[in-house]
Symmetry: D2
Subunit: 319 residues, 4 copies
């Protein structure tokens, strides 16, 4: 077993920047159905009802939308220490921090794409109050019955001008495996989907078609329990003036049943079903999609909307 492949346990949390902190917070609590764990300074910490950690989303007030940082939880404290050394040796390391609300010390670094990334192990597991506790002790907290009722953080999609460089760093130094990829005829890697556990992906990186911007964010995904709930989410978005970019429909890549919304701060948020699709094969062969295959659109023929290829946060006009 390649130890690097399994060093990461899961995607832990994402910090999103928003120029409208109050509206964004309202969106994630009242529309998405998430709960506030805590607030500190200009930041609000939130979790979905079955997220087991203190938070999976940190919203921070900022002049423009975008991503602050994201974090992986590693498999053990030992793996964390070794990993920090490995990254330091690549020259992209930034060093240790004492951590944040909800988790212990982190090692920070920048991916080749410029995205600020953290790794940690020590965490504060969410302990529900009596009122918050689920009737089923194998659920992290009560099903909210509010808005979209998202269950857990699912995956993150970043933009990068050089997907191949991102991919090499991820697979050689950080962990995970490449379950699907898009490669055009010129051998240019257009997208890469990484899995760090049995989910078919936890992080996607797709090519940034806007030149000269770095550290751009494409979308963050929360999972619900069924496709029916993704359809209900579309109605909830419609009824509450939340912009629907595209969907519900099924991606050909990874087969995700998707719905893309823009939260009030401008970041793209995906609602997806917690899919039946798992990758359990230990020597799984990466699925490679060609230009011709991708030109067919999504699984059932929907043409991909133009903004999906070009819009990321921050946007050009933000800068």
């Amino acid at each position: 077993m390649n130890n690097v492949m399994w060093d990461i346990a899961h995607l832990a949390h994402v910090e999103l920047l928003t120029p409208k902190l109050d509206e964004s917070t309202h969106f994630f609590t009242e529309i998405m159905g998430m709960s506030i764990s805590d607030t500190k300074g200009d930041s609000v910490y939130l979790r979905a009802y079955d997220d087991y950690e203190h938070h999976t989303l940190k919203l921070t007030a900022h002049k423009n939308a975008g991503i602050g940082h994201y974090a992986w939880r590693l498999r053990s404290a030992d793996v964390l220490n070794e990993k920090a050394k490995t990254i330091e040796a690549t020259g992209l390391g930034l060093g240790w921090t004492p951590g944040d609300l909800g988790h212990g010390r982190t090692y920070q670094f920048r991916m080749p794409s410029g995205h600020l990334t953290e790794i940690y192990f020590e965490t504060e597991k969410f302990k529900p109050s009596e009122a918050q506790a689920s009737a089923l002790k194998n659920t992290a907290s009560k099903f909210p019955g509010r808005g979209i009722n998202v269950r857990r953080i699912d995956h993150l999609n970043l933009l990068s001008e050089d997907v191949a460089a991102f991919q090499n760093f991820q697979l050689n130094h950080l962990g995970g495996r490449l379950t699907e990829t898009i490669i055009f005829d010129d051998n240019e890697v257009k997208g890469a989907w990484f899995s760090v556990n049995s989910k078919s992906y936890d992080l996607a990186v797709t090519q940034d078609h806007v030149k000269g911007m770095t550290n751009r964010f494409h979308h963050l995904t929360y999972a619900v329990n069924s496709r029916e709930e993704v359809l209900i989410a579309a109605d909830i978005a419609l009824e509450n003036d939340i912009f629907i970019e595209t969907g519900p429909h099924k991606h050909a890549v990874q087969q995700t049943f998707f719905l893309y919304l823009y939260e009030p701060g401008g970041n793209r948020i995906e609602i997806a079903n917690a899919t039946a699709r798992l990758v359990l094969d230990p020597d799984y062969k990466t699925i490679v999609w060609t230009k011709e295959e991708r030109a067919k659109g999504q699984a059932w023929g929907l043409k991909t909307v133009e903004s999906f290829h070009t819009r990321g946060t921050p946007m050009q006009e933000d800068l």
Copy 2:
């Protein structure tokens, strides 16, 4: 066409009595996802998000649980006037009332079982405020995104010692047709399901196994859009300490996918999916279930819980 058969347009509303008005109101608003249209005296008037009238449920404070009255909306003002005369001639009529919040004058009478029944035509259709209006103009008001999100009133189930007498009055004088029935070997009618439109039933009457009580209520049903939402409703009940009597499961009779809850006042409430099943055949032949067939339990083999056969409101201990 038998004019009597089509005189009734639909089940309009039900008045439930509750010894815990506040808790019951909280159940119907926060757990069921209904909205308060108005209050008057000891009564609260509520509707589901796609109910088109002022209210479909009137909750009234009372020393015990049970049913106050229920109402049919007829097809026209002319039909109403003729129907009042027909009922008056049976000797069961009580006379005209000026109506209530949300609807015009009603003709009141008692069914042979003693249940207080009203018929009317003039109604106040719900006009949503801008904040309440749905983004889809063919929906009566906004999808709530709160609790069980019930869509509309579906049907009512009453208890009667003499189901045959109830049935005769309904079919000969009031309207509707008998779509399904349970008849035991002794030719005793154990249950009767009446449809007044294309739904497969709007009113059910089943035998009261408790002797000497009258005017008893079995359950009131609100519909959601899918079976998945009935399953989610079960989780919401579980998480909020609402007693689940039985289900989710599928009835053999009428094929309803059911979940039975007790609201805090003690009345049984059913959540069902707004089924695909319609009865469009103009000379539909009533489905007759025998004792042996009913002994098989529900559609997928679930044995019917004992309380479902015996418990109605008011309960014996209430009196």
Copy 3:
């Protein structure tokens, strides 16, 4: 009560023409999950598992795709006789026929749009063999467990250059009511949705944008029990090389959750869920959609594909 409004019980069956009878038959049996009731000459008669009549679809070999005729079942033999006289008086009547496999004598006429229409009452209800019988006696036959598993015929959509003329004939002479309509600024009626029972529509007529063609067919719809099954239908179409024109998505008009396929003969077939939406209000006010409202696309923002506005069968190139 306007007697004309309720004279029709339901949409009974549709005869589709196909240049590929074998492939079309395979589509309706193996992909849609329907069953063959009988064959006669160049025609195959089919029904969905919960259709109660002998057939709801007649496939007839022809040089091009299109519609042969469609039929309404009326409420009674008396209504049929009166209706035939009414239509004869309009000058559009063609006269009585002895009927076809599965139903008794019909009165034939042409709608102002030229579509051949039949009305009848006497019918042969489907009697399943022991092997075909459902375990639930309130289902017309066994759930097939094959392909898309459509449950029942739902509605028909025709094309007409003069929607207003079609509408006037339908409402004044035939029956039903107008539940939704699209009217552009020039007061031109672009689409009309008629309901003859509690379903929110049974027949739609939309404007034919191709000039000089008559008797054109837009689509025929079969209902499944849930939106989840519409999604599964999309996968089944994808896996079996059945062209998906658009969907799954939700129409704003009538809120139908739709999937449009082309059967091998070229006719457009819709799979929709048997919706929760019923129109029970006896004085329901027609929903009117404007040009601006329709420009928003479907319920969740999907733009309507161009072919949906222009393609009907027969197609121009067929003639």
Copy 4:
């Protein structure tokens, strides 16, 4: 990282014994929707449409129902060699075999409960013919559109008189972690649920209440994509005279939405949804259920049927 914990990749296949090979084969192909990969001697090899290996089920003719053996696929050839040594040292090893149709050499051993178990790495991945290939290259083969349409093998439940002994061997020598367990007041372990990847369990062992029998089988589970499909599966079972023992309902333990059937040979088969529930936390704390908690029945209150506690295959009367 405890290397033992992650040595196993996934549950690979199960050999079920059946006294009615033809009827059992018909059940798994026509009712469950699986496909035959091959046959050899008295055995039929089958897979679900998204199983990536040659087979996940081997049906073998035998005088009574029960389990022949089951197999784990390990993470690598190296892990396999080391694991064989580890097991040999425990004294429970049986030795190497050259393998079977579809996979390479295996190391065989008996669990403390007597169950014959195999481990292997080399496998023959399923290569669909053109006709079998899915339109989506990330699916192992075409969605069948036949019967219950199971997607993949999910988990296995064995019976053992001494659950603790089984558990110790599994966790100390084989791999996986204990995600949930039932422990009664006398510290007796009544049930143990093991996960070897991110699924919340792959193998369950529950106490055999019948004394003196060994090597008994409780159930084998195949997953479908949604709860709606579990409900449809119940109808398909009902329509095809397949005995439904209990369900559909939701387990409190592991939250599985279940349906239990008896295949014609007598073995219990579960249909479950491929759940949203994943265990990604690397230091997850085992959920412990007490006697009082289990006495509450299943998640929504369904009492567990008696046969679920006592019936395994082979049955006492078989011997």
